[in-house]
Amino acid sequence: MADVTLSIDGQKVTVPAGMTVLEAAEKIGAFIPTLCHDPELSKPGACRICVVEIDGMRNLPASCVTAATEGMVVHTASPAVVEARKTIIELLLASHVEDCMTCQKFGNCKLADYAYYYGVKKSSFVGEQHAAPVDDSSAVIVRDTNKCVLCGKCVRVCDEIQGRHVLDFMHRGFNTIVGPAFNDGMGESVCVGCGSCVAVCPVGALTEKNMQGKGRSWEVTKVKTTCPYCGCGCNFDLNVKNGKVIGVTSNPTSEVNGRHLCVKGRFGYDFIHSSDRLTKPLIKKDGDFVEVSWDEALSYVVSRFKEIKAKDGSDAMAVLTSARCTNEENYLMNKVARVAFETNNIDHCARL
C-alpha cells in the first residue's frame, strides 16, 4: 500500500496507508493515553481516552480507530483534547472504588497513571458508587468489578486469543459489568485460569490471587526465564522479592507465547518455596533417611559407584537423566554414563 504523510503536533510523519493515527503518533513518540486499545486485539474504539483533534473534523475522533490519511493535521494535546480526557478520567473515577492503598495494581495502574498525568485529583461527578462483592471464587484470579473501567480487553483476549469466551459484558449503563455467564464466580465458570485477562487488564479489576499483598511492583526484580512444564517453551518473568519468587508475570518479548501462558506457567510456582523441598542430602541408614553434609553424601555416592563398577563392570551401571533439567545438566549426566561409568546405559522419560 502507498504511504501517507500527515502532521502530528507540527511534526511530519510518513506511514503506510491504513495505519491508525494512534500508531502513527507512537511512531514519533507522541503520548496518547489508551485503555481499551491493544495491538493484539480487535479495536472497539470504546473508551475514548485516546481522542485527538484533527483539523477539519467536527468531533474529537478516537485515534485508535481513525486511519491516518494524506495531509491530515493532528493535535494530540490541544486544550480541547486535554479537557475531554480529563472529563473521561473524572467519569471513570466517579464510580471507581477508592482503595488504591491496598490495590494489587498500585504503581502499575493505567487509570492512576492518567489521573496523575492530567492532574485529576477527584471526580466532580458525585453519585452512586459500585459496591459489588469481590469475586475470589477462583483459585488463581481475583475479580473486582468495582475497579473495572469496562475497556473490554479481558473479554476480547479470552475470545480472540484464548478462544474460550468466558467473559462478556452484562447489564446496561451504570450497571454494566464484565464477568462470566450469569455473573457466576470465575471459580464456578468454565474459566481455565490461563490469566491472559489478568495480563491485559489496565487496572486492578483482574489480578493474580497468589500475589495479593506479596510485593509492590517497584520492590520486585523481574527475571525472564523459560517455563518448566510442557514442551511449548513459553517465557515469562519470575517476580523476585527478598530472594523469593512471589509471582509470575507476562513478558511481552517472549518469542513463543508473547503475553499468554497457561494456568501452570502463570500460577504453578509455589513448589519452589514449598516446605517439602529437600534441603540436605539424605543417606539411608538402617532403613531410615539421615541428613548428611554434601561432602559425606558425595564421597559415599562416588565410593559406591566405584566399587560396583570395579566388581560388576560398566554395564551394571546406568543413568536416568531428566527431561525436566537443563541441557547442561543432561550433557553432564551423559558424561557420567559414558565417561565415568563407561556405558551407554542412559535414558530418560522421553517415552513416558
Binding site: 518448566p228 517453551g233 523476585v240 499468554h260 500460577f267 546406568a318 558424561k335 551407554n344 517415552r351
Partner: protein
Amino acid sequence: MTNSIGEVKECDYLFVIGSNTTETHPIIAVEMKKAVRNGATLVVVDPRKTELAELANFHVPLKPGANIPLLNTMCNVIIEEKLYNQEFVANRTEGFEELKAAVKNFTPESYAGIIGVPADTIREIARGFAKAKSAAIFYTMGITQHTTGTHNVMACANLSMLTGQIGKPSSGVNPLRGQNNVQGACDVGGLPNVFPGYQAVADKANSEKFSKAWGVKQSEKIGLTVGEMMDAAHHGDLKALYILGENPMLSDPDITHVEHALSKLDFLVVQDLFLTETAMLADVVLPGASFAEKDGTFSNTERRVQLVRKAVEPVAGKADWEVIAEILTRMGYPHEYATASDIFDEVSKVTPQYSGMSFARLEQGSLQWPCPTPDHAGTKYLHQGKFSRGLGKFIAVDFKAPAELPDAEYPFVLNTGRRLYHYHTGTMTRRTKGLSGIYGEESIEINPADACKLSISEGDLLKVSSRRGSINVKANVTDRVPAGMVFTSFHFAETAVNFLTNSARDPIAKIPELKVCAVKVEKAS
C-alpha cells in the same frame, strides 16, 4: 516439530492425531485456534471427544490403536485418486511402489468400522489434506505410546511425503514433545543409542570421535532404555542406578514391576526437589535445584534453545550441574566449570545442531537448531529442499492390533494421559495451591452408557483392575470417552494408574503401550 509454533496459525489444514493439545500444549492450541479462526480446516483424530475435537470440522473417534488403518486408507485414497504430489514423490522420495502396494488393500470401506467415520468422510479428509495449500500433522503420545509407535510415526511421514506437505512453511510432521526439555535431553546425549547430536554409538567413526573428545574410550554397544533398565535390574544384571529428576514409580508402566526392579538394585541414587515415590526407595537422595535456582538452557518442541535464568539461590546450596560435575570430578574425571555457559560451550562443540550457539547469542534471542555456525540464524522448518538422509523413504507399514485388548474378564480399554492443571507425576503442580485448588483430586472418565449398565453414578468410588494391579478412583461420568473406554491421568499417587498399565513395548523405539490396556471396572465395596 519440523515446523515452528509460529507457523501453526498460517496452516490451512491441521491434522491433529493423538494429541489433546488444549490440555497438554495449551499455547500451541491457542495457535491452532487462531488457524481455525483464519479459516483453516481442523481434523482431530482421538477416541475421546477432547476440547479440540469439539472445535474440529472432522472428529475421527477411532478405535484405540487404529492409527495405521486411518493413515494408510488416506494414502490409499490419495494414490487411487491421483491426488499425490507427483513432482515431490519423483524428486524427493524413494519407495513409492512399496507404499502403493502396502496400502492397496486399505480401502476406506474395509476399515471404516475401526476408524469410526464413514468411508466417504475418510475420502473427504484425505482429499482435503492432499489439496490443501499447507497441511501439517500434529501428534503427541496418542501416536507413539503403542506397540506400533514407530510404525505409526512412519505412517504419518508417508502421508506427508506422499502429498509433498513437508519441507515448507506450515507443512510438516510435528510431534509435540511433552516435557519442557525432553527435546534437549535427547539432543545432548540422554539416549542409549546416540551420542550428543544423534550420532549413533554403534558407528565406529562416532565412538572414535567421542573417545578423543572426552579422553575415555567409548563403547559401541547400544545401552539400555528405561524399560530395559527395569528388566535388567529385576534380573539382577543392573546393580547401580543414578536417577536425576525422574519419578518412574509413578510415570512408568506396571509400577509393581518398577518397584521390584528398583528394590533389587545394590545402589540407587535419586536427585530431586522432593522425596518422591522413587526417592523413597533410594540409598542416597541428593537435593535438586528448581528451574528458578539455576542458569542453563531448555530446548522446546520446535527445536528452540532458550535461556533459563537463575532468579533465586538454590535451596540446598548447589545447582544440579554443580553436583553432577562434582561427582564426575570425584570419580576421577575432572570437570570444573565456572558457569553453565562453559558447559554449553562444550555441548556446542560436540553437537553439530548447536555448533553456532552460545549463551552470548542466546542472550540476544533464542535460536532454533540446526544452527551450524555463529552467523547462522537458526532453522524455522526442517527438510527444505532435501531430507537429512537425502531422499525421503516411504516405509510400508501394516496394521497390528494393540498387545492387550478387552476380553470377557477385562472388558474395558484403559487410556491414560494428562490434565491441564497438573504435570507428569505432580511433584511440582500438586505442591502449588492454585493448581491443587482447581484440580485437587483425580477421577476416571466413563461413558454414561457404561455407567448405566454398571449402575455407576458421578463420584462413586470405583475399583479399576488390570492383570497387573488395581486402584480405587472416583467416577466421572462423561461422554468425553466413548463406550467401552475409561480414561484417567498418571499425575496422582493416590490413584496411580500405572499400577494397571501394560509394559509391552514397541520393538523399535521401546516405548510402552500406555494408551491401551484391558481393565475391569466395578464399584468399590
